[in-house]
Structure formats: C-alpha cells, structure tokens
Subunit: 460 residues, 2 copies
Amino acid sequence: MDKLLKNLKYLFEAKSLAVVGASDNPEKLGCVILKNLVEGGFGGKLYPVNPKYGKLLGLTCYSDVLAVGGNVDAAIIATPAQTVPGILEQCGRKKIKSAVVLSGGFAEVGNDALEQQVKGICVKNNIALIGPNCLGVLNPHTRVDSIFMPFYKFQRPAPGSISFITQSGGVGSTIVDLAASYGVGISKFISYGNGAVISEAGLLDYLEADGKTETIILYIEGAKDGRKLFEAMKRTNRKKPIIVLKAGRGEEASEAARSHTGNLAGDYLAYKAAFRQAKVVEAESLEELFDFVKIFRQTLPRGRKIGVITNGGGIGVLTADALQQEGLELGRMETGTKKAVGASLPSYGSAGNPLDLIADAGVEKFSGAIEAFMRDANMDAIIIDVLFQVPPIDERLLKVLIKASDDKRKPIAVVAMGGKYTEEQRRMLESNGVPTYNNPLSAVKAVKKLAEYAEYRRSL
Amino acid sequence: MDKLLKNLKYLFEAKSLAVVGASDNPEKLGCVILKNLVEGGFGGKLYPVNPKYGKLLGLTCYSDVLAVGGNVDAAIIATPAQTVPGILEQCGRKKIKSAVVLSGGFAEVGNDALEQQVKGICVKNNIALIGPNCLGVLNPHTRVDSIFMPFYKFQRPAPGSISFITQSGGVGSTIVDLAASYGVGISKFISYGNGAVISEAGLLDYLEADGKTETIILYIEGAKDGRKLFEAMKRTNRKKPIIVLKAGRGEEASEAARSHTGNLAGDYLAYKAAFRQAKVVEAESLEELFDFVKIFRQTLPRGRKIGVITNGGGIGVLTADALQQEGLELGRMETGTKKAVGASLPSYGSAGNPLDLIADAGVEKFSGAIEAFMRDANMDAIIIDVLFQVPPIDERLLKVLIKASDDKRKPIAVVAMGGKYTEEQRRMLESNGVPTYNNPLSAVKAVKKLAEYAEYRRSL
C-alpha cells in the first residue's frame, strides 16, 4: 500500500479533527457535522474552523487550519468548491495527513480543472483525500463522523465488522441507516463521491489490511480505473468477501450516473464478467446488498444441501419452492434425525424436510429439531421459518436461535414476516448476529451466495 | 351465487356468534379467540359454548349451541376433529347459517372420511363452512375475528378495501400483520385451510359481489377444482384485480403442500398458464404479494412511460436500471416540464429524467416537480425516490406526497429506504394510501404490474 493510502488511518483513527466551514447556522452542513461529532462522542480534539466565529458549541473556533496550535490529524471540509484548493494548500502546510471534501461542484458538473487542481495539491502534500461530492466517512469504533444527516433522522450503527464503500452517499447511507435500525454493526462507512485522489480500488486495498473489517459492501456507478478495481477485488475477495452492486447499467441510467459523480458508468457486461472472474458476490438490488452481507456473519457451509424447519406449513412450502428455483437442494434426512424429530411430532405431523413442527410447537421442539439438523451430515445449512405470532412461541426462542447462529457447525438463516412484534424479534436477533429475512426467497438467495463463496474459498 | 355461498354473509356480518370450545385456559384456542372478540370490540352477541363452564369473561357459557336462547348467525368451532360432526349437526338444528372449523386432523392427515362427513352435514343444512384446518376469518369492519393469535403478537388491521383468500393461515396472517403495521386497510381476511365445503373459487365469487372489496390477494397451494378456480378468476379479475401467489411448485414443495392442507399442489406450469390467460397478477414471492397489492390503491396508468423524481442521485440511477430491466420506459420530458423544473435547479443540477433535485432540495422543489410531471403527457406514472434523512426534508413532504397519491391524474409510488425515522415516514404514507417501497426494483415491479393490468382493462 502506498504512503498516501496509509494516511487514511489518520482520518479513521483521528485523534484531532478540524471541521472547516463549521457554523452555527443549522442549514449549513458544517453546523450539523460539528454538532454530530460533539453529541456522537468523538473522543479526540475538535477544531472548528471559520473566520466568522470566535466560539462554536463552546469550542474555540479558528480562522484557518494554520491558526490551530496543536497537531491536526485530519480535516473535514464543508465549504464551497472554489475555496477548496486554498484550504487544502493550508492543510498541506499544517501537515494534515487526510481530508474529506463534502462539497459538490467539481467533475460531476464539468469542472474537471478544479478537480485536477485538488488532486495535484493532495498528491504533492500526501493528503489522503475522500471526495469531493460525498458524505465522507463514519467509523463507529472511533466516532469519526462526517455525515451531515442529523441523528434523529439517520441512526448511527454500532461498531461491527462490515465495511461499506459507496460512490453514492445517498445509497450508502440508506443501507447504514437500515443496518443501524436492526443493530447490525459496522466497521467503516466510506462515501467517496468523485474519488479524485483515492478511488474504490485504493479503498479495497485499505480495507483488506484493516483488522476491524471482515466483509465489504461496494456500491459503484462507474470505476475510475476498471483494471485496477478488478485487481483489487480479486486480491481482497480471497480474504474478505465483497458484496457488490453496480448501478448505471443501461444507457439512460448511465447518463444519470455521469451527472451524479462525474464518472462514466461503462459497459455493464464488462463489469459483470469482471465480478464473475473475481468471484465477488453480485447483488441485483439495494435490498439484496443488505440481505447478502448479513449472512456472511455466519460460518461457511460445506455444501448446498439445506435443511428447513418451520412452525408454519405454508412458509415451508414457499421455502422449498425458493430452494428449487435457486438451484439449492433440500437435504435428505438421515435415519437418526427422522427418529429424533419424529418422536416429538403430533400424529398429524410428518418428519420430512421441510420439517413442519405445526403451529402448536413450542420452543423445545424448535430446539430439538435444530440440534438434530446440526448433527445431520446431509444438511449443510439450516433455514428456520418462524411464525412468532402463534401462542406457544415466546422470547425463549430468541436464545435458541442465537445459540444456533453462534454454533460454528453450520450457518443458519431465520425467516420471519409480520408486523411490529415480529419486527422487534428480528431486531433482537440481528443485533445478536443472526441473519433474518422477511420472506423465504430472500433468505434462500442469501444462503446461495454464501454457499457459492464457500465453494470459491475451498477452491483456493 | 348459490344459497350456501350467500350464507357467508352471516359469518362476515354476524350479529350473534357462538364460540364452541371456549375456555379459560390460555393455552386453548377457544380462550384466545373469545378474549380477542371481547377485547377487539365485536359489536354483536357472543355465546361461549363449553359444558365445563357456567361463565367465561363475564358471559353466560352454554353447554351446546342448542342451549342458546336467541338466534345465532355463525359458529366458530375450536374443538378436536372427532367432535366436529356432532357439533355441526347441532348447528344445523339451530339453523346456524355459517361456521368456521379451526381444528386440524382431517384430509391433511388422511382422514378423508371425516372431512366428507363434515361436508355432507354442511351441504344438507346449508351451512357455509370455512375450514377445517385454518385460521378462519377476520373482518375489521365488523370485528368478526377467529384468528387465534393474541393482539400483542399480531396486530389487527384497520378497515379497508383489500381482501385476502389464503389456503395457509400462517402465510396469510404474516401479510395481514405486516399490512396492519403499515396502516394498510383490509376488507376481509379468509384462511380456508382444507376448503371442505367452500374453496377458493367460491370465495372469489363471494368477494366479486362484496361491496367493500376492491382488490383481492389469493395464496394457493393446490386448488380443489382447477377449472372452477380458473373461471372464477377470469370473471372476478375483470372487475377487481387479483394478485396471486402459487406455492408448491416443485416436486418436494408439492409433497410438503399435501401434508399441509391435504390438497395436491398440481402442475405449476398449468397454473401459470391459467394465470396468464385470466390476466391475474402473479407474484413470485411472499414479499411481492404485499408489494403489488399496495399499488392497486392507485389510479391505473395510461401507458408505460415513467417519470422519476429524486433527491438522491444514486437511487435515481438504480431506478433507471430497474425500469430498463423490467421493460418500462423513462418518459421523455416535454419542453414545458424541462423549463418548469430547470428554473428551480441549482447550476449543478440537470433537468433530465430521472430528475435529480440534489440532496439540498426542500419540500417546495419536490412539490413543483411532481406537479410538472403530473401535467407532462409523456409521463404515465411517477416514481418518487426520497431520502428522508437529509436536513432540508421535513414532515411537510408527507402532505405533498399524500396529495400526489390522491391525485387521480396519475399513479405514484414512493421509494424510501432507511432506519427508524424513514420507516415512520413510510407508515404515515401507507396509512394514507400512498404505496411505498424500500428499494427501487420493488417499486418498479409493482408499477409494471399496475401498467399491465391497466392494459388488460383497456382491452375489455
């Protein structure tokens, strides 16, 4: 990794941060960001910068970064485009190692010269730059946070092991917000916008080496350098699964992408071929990005034979349909399993796969069935369809499912669809690392991606 | 409609209800159901029936239905299978017009003789029977409710115009629960299980004539009589759109379906052909059932040209991708629209379709753009992608979107993905009739189904 890229750690692990363009006007980004850093509990030193103010939120405000007395690790810049080169020059003189430029008005609207100028200054001064035209970064571990959305509208996720690289701030942020609401932990969120200095390939390299990142989501419209991206994907994906969504596939969508982050969306089929070759996990929609990344917190399965356990016959039937459609198999129960689960079924139940425990099954039957499936060599992964709504199911089932999810023998996925009560159960499961889905097809597609990635890893 | 079928109104509009198998043991279905009827505010007379009790929840409890002094419109029966024929005989003598049998233990476990006996008694006595082996019915307009799930786990929806016919109680109930949590109103929910006396075809006929039903969801595993179902679908779908999900497609899933409600799942390709010919709307997953039915509360579009408005560039790009993938067109803006929306855009915005209002757009810009698209003859439907998380958007946008949804000129769909705050906004929109989706592809698929159904209706 080159020196410039390494300097990103001064941003993610910043012990001192300047917020250039800080303000007390709540309509200005610099106001929201400063407030978020203070209220979010950023532990390092904070230096608001704006010649108009003496103090902001009780902190001394500086006329420019050079006026700050102490060391500054990184700068978040939220000022109009034309002021950015001058500010970055000052950052260089102050030996600031990394910066985020949130402002738009660069290559995405045809101001290529301005973007090149920014790039030149950063390269000369070894400033690891994120942006311009982006949301910047969020690191829940250190509370470094340049996202200009207020907390009440956009929840911050807990620290975790999933990292996001996204060209579009809006797309990335919706997924992080969703993750936060389900208690899914995040390592690093990086909205890089135009990617003038560091683009997706560099970010992949950085995250490959990052000790806190285990899985990576990548949303791209058009890569800066397709060849570099391909090589970086191939390298990183061998160690850490990459889930990718490529937007801007058709001609009209591609045109929309160009005016969005100034990058050509390029030929989708070429991207698709590259994804296949690099063996990364491709998502076809925003929803799949989140569906897929969650399952990668589970153990990799040894094969494609799936066991299905349910207390709702219809959901079991739909799961069997989805498995067939996606090319996975229903495992054939071993004799021992048949005996173990058959003994606990009522006369009108049947010990097949899907295993329908019937709506009057209590928590113990789920627990017994899961253990029997964990021992069965013909089951490589277990999908558990739960109707939380029926009377015999209570909170003890959550413990059973969390235990199964922590069990390293096999991966599991839970399907539960319903209203408020069911959603609460799902949140409790997700925040304990259990992947949950609101319909069987989504769960099956995710399990399939996990099985395919497992096959790839075994082939290495 | 035959007389037996007509008698269903004595169930849905019951002024007096017997609950046979009522109990004070919270583990018994009859206990939960009686409690739900009382607490749910059922307005008619309630007669608990069980020889073991003198009173239940303050109500006189009767030894059998014949002991009830007044008239009884319908009976909900929650007693073991072998007791059901005797109870139905008594219902016949009491001139009870309709009944629900919740209990399992009939054809689905091979007890065909018992099921035939039940059928014979009902036909002889003109009892419109729902079940056996089901959840029965829910009518939010009258609070008739035989669902044995407690309120805190399973929310009851508001009165509305969508009706559900479902062979699987579990599948149907998860969608109703979901609908309730989003404030989507329901007309009638019917879980008919084995369908011994009245099956899906009869229920479609009943709902076709039902003044409170505008759209119908149908979930089937295997029809009692495929030809009758096909004819009923064709007739009803001409007036009221039917959204159908067929489960039990593959061989293994089909076997699971047989042991679930005792019906053969049959050849899926034959079903698929019938759906196409009847021009009903086929859903491929549980999720699509709910996604699709919501859009049918909107005006039918005149064509397939779609306008997209967003304050998040990336979401716009993904919407354009989804439109292309699903074979819908991006409408080409009329000159007047270009001028109208162009005037309000910042220098770095572009007046194209998708129209990217940029993250700093406020409520007024959305409002102006929607009105311009409503007037544009090249836009048949409007998809509005909203990032609720950004600072300039506030609750006033909800009013703008509800107004657009009520506007009979064109249908709209809203895409909004995010955490708690965004979900709250979605709930408020849905409870006001605005169809919302958490990703562009789902919205586009729903709009496509609406456009196809509109084409069919124009062809009549």
